[in-house]
């Protein structure tokens, strides 16, 4: 099974090299979506053996994921793994996230940080719980980590999920789409590293509220 990792990245020159080094032996191909970075993200990714797909201007996480999934499908991926570029995920968790797809028990797997939220800062945990509640109320999908960026999708699922939102609301949208398309969804616990770097790249309360607003508008548009 050809596995391709999709990594959306925006100005991640400090960590992207290390993230790619950790992933290389675990997957068949790495696709970096450089979402209009101003720094050397694309250059570093290329020298570390990743395929770089570059947005000319910044379009947001959702747009970058959509582009990455499209690129992976064109490269004949049979399984697509989405992975955050900030270094918070552990490549060692990949086999566990892939397992339900390989065994045919899932079309889409979400790596959940919250079965064991040790080390997650309380404010982050609260924000995640609000995200889960919103996803449940708006889209009827009950998960423990609706905002996780670590996922695995079978080719079947990747071809069916339509990403229409450009920004952070994409995480909830993917869940909503898997429900709409009747995909089998499984959550697998993963570990996380909360480094000073990944925290600084994380979401502020204000961004969270804006995401919430856009999700409500998105729901009404359906």
């Amino acid at each position: 099974m050809k596995t391709v990792t999709v990594i959306p990245a925006w100005n991640e020159e400090l960590v992207i090299g290390e993230v790619l080094d950790g992933l290389r032996s675990r997957v068949d191909e790495m696709v970096i979506v450089d979402d209009g970075s101003d720094d050397r993200t694309a250059l570093i990714a290329r020298t570390r053996g990743a395929t770089v797909v570059r947005h000319a201007v910044n379009r947001g996480l959702g747009a970058a994921l959509g582009t990455g999934i499209a690129a992976a499908l064109r490269r004949n991926a049979e399984i697509i793994i989405t992975f955050d570029a900030d270094g918070q995920h552990l490549p060692d968790d990949i086999p566990a996230v892939l397992a339900p797809i390989l065994s045919g028990d899932a079309d889409i797997v979400i790596g959940t940080r919250l079965r064991d939220p040790k080390g997650m800062p309380p404010i982050r945990r609260l924000a995640n719980q609000i995200g889960n509640l919103v996803t449940l109320v708006l889209f009827g999908v009950k998960v423990t980590d609706s905002q996780s960026g670590f996922r695995a999708l079978s080719r079947y699922a990747a071809e069916r999920i339509e990403i229409r939102t450009d920004r952070m609301e994409v995480s909830s949208e993917i869940l909503a789409e898997s429900r709409r398309k009747n995909l089998k969804l499984v959550e697998v616990p993963i570990r996380s590293r909360y480094t000073a770097y990944s925290m600084s790249k994380g979401q502020s309360l204000w961004m969270g509220l804006r995401t919430l607003g856009r999700l409500i508008i998105h729901r009404m548009g359906r």
């Binding site: 979506v33 395929t51 570059r54 201007v57 379009r59 747009a63 582009t67 508008i217």
Partner: protein, 113 residues
């Protein structure tokens, strides 16, 4: 008939807005439909301001108490309508930009191989 300051100000604003609209229409930056809309809006506003009786008559027809209230209600409704239109159009534009950026990104990445 003596004019109140507020009447002069509003009519002046209407005149400037209309002038701008006509100029943009001449430069083909504005469609006939939008020009017609602006003309109706600003001429209507001027008439209501200069002859307050008109709004009172409309108020009576609609069953609203005062003429001024009719103007306020209609203004708010109109503003909401335009805001909604702008938001949906903006949303569509964003999605289209993403489509263009994505297509270019995918094409370039395949060309580089």
């Amino acid at each position: 008939m003596s004019l109140l300051a507020i009447q002069i100000i509003i009519v002046a604003i209407a005149a400037v807005a209309l002038g701008g609209a006509i100029r943009r229409f001449r430069k083909r930056e504005m469609s006939v439909r939008w020009l017609a809309l602006w003309v109706i809006l600003w001429v209507g506003a001027s008439v209501v301001v200069l002859v307050p009786k008109t709004s009172e008559r409309i108020a009576a027809i609609l069953g609203v108490g005062r003429g001024v209230d009719v103007v306020v209600y209609l203004s708010i409704a109109t503003l909401f309508y335009f805001m909604f239109r702008i938001m949906t159009r903006l949303d569509r534009m964003e999605r289209e930009i993403t489509k263009v950026v994505r297509a270019a990104a995918l094409r370039d990445s395949e060309k580089n191989e």
